[in-house]
Amino acid sequence: MKRLGPIVAASLLLCGLASPPPAAAHGERNQEPFLRMRTAHWYDVTWSADKVKVNDEIELRGRLHMFSDWPKHLFPLGTVYLNLGVNGPVFVKVATYLNDVPMMQSTTLEYGKEYEFRIIAKARMPGRHHVHPMLNVEYAGPLLGPGKSIEVEGEAADFAFPLTTLDGIQIPNLETWQLGNIGRVHAYWLVLAFLWLGWWFRRGPRLLSRFRSIDGGKEESLLTGADRIAGAVIVVVALASVAFGMISTNAKYPRTSALQGGRVRVLPLPDEAEQVLVRHTRGVYQVPGRSLELTLKVTNKSANPVRLGEFTAANLRFVNRGVAAAAAGVPANYPDDLLARNGLVVTPDEPIPPGETREIKVQAADAAWETERLASLMGNPDSSYGALLFFFDPQGKRFVSEVSGPAIPSCTTL
């Protein structure tokens, strides 16, 4: 009876390990805030569908802004690769573009520049999958854009990805291409290997008796002329098989190429002259209120008055609902968890006339600072935030500005 407890506990543990729950996301909240707030900013992200069938395509598109105030304790921005952030190949990539350049290869991006991305993905495995745009950055790791759950219906067995080579060879499905051939080649060599072992083990391994013979100095008696002939045969057959395989394969596929591993060049979108300049004056993170409160100096260099419509950081959007153009910029199917319920409070929330500099206070308060694990920016090496601010003029024209600076934690009640 004493042993029953540990046995039950071990059984439960094994059962738990045997049926792990599926991952609903990719640990994006686990990345440190500076990685999410001051590196790649994704905005205007849209997903073309919420529910698809196996073999259907979806399109993710939006904009990518590489932050100027890149964290100094991170490796510099170098080689990057536009990727799809999903839990394995449940969606496959059909095409990816940065500023309309196909992104099969990696590239380099520049600080403070804008890029338009487009990812066309095809559903492969049924289920509910969290789908993000993603940028792999060499030495910095993966930087995920906003994620949305997409339902895939149908059967995985129905998936097909056909392709035609330049020689006109039809590949019905990349998932199963040449599997029969791979199986046959492996089987051929396995048969030879088992014949070789079978020759030596035809009367059992006889390891101990052979060991005794060697121990007794009779090792010469262990190998016969027939054994040596078998050895010569296996060497000749193996070499001949390799030569035949090589020659016949070259005859069958005369035109092959090397793997393609170059880099592509992507030019950033043309710079828009900085129309709205933002300078950080002070930043406080109210721990009890889960609120980032900023004092900013804003200079409007545009021809029209502007109002602050949105503060976005780490894919989290705080929208000033008093600015119609900002509210209209949130698609109906945008993920709820990335949209702050309390919105953005700007004081004074008045248009800043052209040519003027005003000091404004911005309050981005939401439990999402905790649930998205962004409050831990206080524990980062430089305890600084980073964000994009969207200003709008009366015609709805948008001006994007960067802002970053230190944030001081405050535990006093509001």
Binding site: F91, M134, E138, R228, L259, Q260
Partner: protein, 247 residues
């Protein structure tokens, strides 16, 4: 001296063989994954320079050690074949469980190469020469040289060319691109880089020959290590007389 019981001895033979086989399989696979894993793990890493250079070169250690053990103690020229079979069992288990069942990668992306042709030749040469030095020179070099051509029948269809989004690509490139790998971005691939460049427009020939040359040394070193290692556990056998050994 007591006569050994043949029935027990047969069981003991298979047990010893099973222990050696699984020990080789697990340790060989661990070593392969830690040293040259990616080159053989993904179809878009199987290039003409690094794969034929490093894969056989860094995988000759266990066949050499295994040959030393089987040849020295049992006079059996099967060490390379047994160790490579062990590697294959571990590799295909890992491919099926880890890459296909667990993470949904298709086999076209993760299929494994075979080292069996190299291993059979290495065992055959050891038997025919009966000499570690000659095996290192002839067998060791052939072990690496035949690796690329032996796997070419599987690889060639993945090197066919396609027009993908306006860029020339091989089928292997497209497979690697298509089936999403979030932790394996394209820039991590170490392919077609370096100074071991073309010979008849194919760097694989230079790589295979260079790999064969270095494998001679690698084989010698690992064979010597195998000889030494197999001496270490030689303890006094308290049950020797029941096994037909001198007391």
């Amino acid at each position: 001296m007591a006569k050994p019981n043949k029935g027990y001895e047969r069981v003991a033979d298979w047990l010893i063989f099973a222990i050696i086989f699984w020990t080789l399989a697990v340790s060989f696979k661990t070593s392969e994954v830690l040293t040259v894993g990616d080159w053989d793990m993904w179809v878009d890493w199987k290039d003409r320079e690094w794969w034929p250079l490093l894969y056989p070169l860094l995988c000759i250690g266990f066949p050499a050690i295994s040959q030393a053990i089987f040849w020295k103690h049992f006079r059996l020229p099967i060490g390379a074949t047994v160790s490579v079979l062990g590697l294959m069992v571990a590799t295909w288990w890992s491919l099926y469980m880890g890459h296909m069942w667990w993470t949904n990668f298709p086999l076209t992306l993760v299929w494994s190469a075979t080292l069996l042709p190299s291993a059979l030749i290495l065992d055959g040469v050891l038997l025919l020469t009966g000499n570690a030095v000659l095996t290192a020179i002839v067998g060791g070099s052939l072990f690496s040289i035949v690796f690329y051509p032996a796997n070419w029948p599987m690889l060639a269809p993945f090197r066919l060319v396609v027009d993908h989004l306006g860029q020339l690509a091989t089928v292997a490139d497209v497979i690697g691109y298509t089936f999403t790998r979030t932790s394996m971005p394209e820039y991590l691939r170490i392919i077609e880089r370096g100074t071991l460049r073309s010979f008849g427009e194919n760097p694989a020939i230079v790589s295979a020959l260079f790999s064969g040359f270095v494998s001679v040394i690698m084989y010698g070193v690992w064979y010597a290590i195998g000889m030494k290692l197999s001496e270490l556990p030689r303890l006094k056998n308290a049950y020797g007389r029941y096994m037909g050994l001198a007391a």
